[in-house]
Symmetry: C2
Subunit: 207 residues, 2 copies
């Protein structure tokens, strides 16, 4: 069967589309341009042999990337109680940063299209992000020896993950503007802050 060449070009189309979508936005990318970038004959409907519409192409691309992003929620499995809190935190930080780097394309697309693009862009990603936050919060409670409350864990997770996300997302959005800060310095500072938050008891405000 000619399935192999079929699958290959299908993937090539998705590759080209995702690259262009993330760079110029969904509306800013024409079908013709995707065809040209994918090496198909420009001007003809080669794409419509594989996808019924432009939106279906986006959906397929996002879905393909989503399984990889889903791996982000496996943070907890990464460190099976290494004993040393600093070590675990360092691993977690580097892991999250690496994941964000790998999904830079998807993040750009998300940022530009999350509000007005097809719903899959928000629905699925919201689910993954939310799950990641919750698992991180649970892990925080565990590792702190149940010293922090639920609300505190939520706040710590929000700030902790948010800091890492910003460190990668903002330069990505603004065009590598402010990312001259060293990675190891960021990780080190982050670990220090999180360690402090996890080991210091905050007795007030347990509404």
């Amino acid at each position: 069967m000619g399935d192999q060449s079929t699958v290959a070009t299908r993937d090539r189309i998705i590759d080209a589309a995702m690259e262009l979508f993330s760079e110029h936005g969904y509306r800013g990318t024409s079908i013709t341009r995707i065809e040209k970038a994918a090496g198909l004959s420009p001007g003809a409907g080669g794409i419509y042999h594989h996808f019924p519409s432009k939106e279906a192409l986006l959906t397929a691309g996002v879905e393909r990337q989503l399984s990889r992003l889903a791996a982000l929620r496996d943070i907890r499995r990464l460190f099976a109680n290494l004993g040393d809190l600093r070590t675990e935190l360092t691993i977690a930080a580097r892991y999250v940063l690496a994941e964000l780097d790998q999904e830079a394309q998807l993040l750009r697309l998300l940022a530009s299209e999350a509000r007005h693009g097809p719903k899959i862009l928000t629905d699925a990603v919201v689910q993954v992000v939310d799950l990641t936050y919750r698992e991180f919060a649970e892990w925080i409670i565990d590792r702190s020896g149940s010293v922090v409350s639920c609300e505190q864990a939520d706040a710590i997770a929000t700030i902790g993950l948010g800091a890492l996300i910003s460190a990668r997302l903002l330069p990505n959005l603004l065009g590598t503007a402010h990312s001259e800060v060293d990675d190891s310095a960021i990780v080190e500072t982050w670990v220090s802050a999180l360690e402090h938050l996890l080991t210091t008891v905050r007795p007030h405000v347990t509404a």
Copy 2:
């Protein structure tokens, strides 16, 4: 002179345009729709009495908002050595969060259009953001009694501001998905983390 009504409608046009741009994106907002939203006659070129082109309208809108965003860089003037570090940090956190809330519209527009929109969207905002980071880093060095190094201050500023920005930007992008976390809990946690970072000496790695 009829300047008053002129200025009023001009502002009304900008208001409507910015709202629609931030909600549906620049390309997703048609001139006709802006006119309708601004109360002008739909279908005609009333807008072109005030702006030469759609892009000029965006530029005018962003420039109008930019002066307000520029106020963000006045963090330092806000607290003139109140003595108590926690108090100053708390004020700073609440101030930044409030500013971000007030500029939610601009932030949404930025996120969706920063990469492929007109250059003013990146150029000017990059400048403001960068300046804010640098001033915050300088303040960190001051307030720590020059305990932290330049690189450490940069890292702390990146993480500190990034955490607050994420806490506001992500829910904004994903549609108020994950913002059930209480503000006071976030501020409290943030202050605790920053205080620790500013008062703890980290002797290693001063490359």
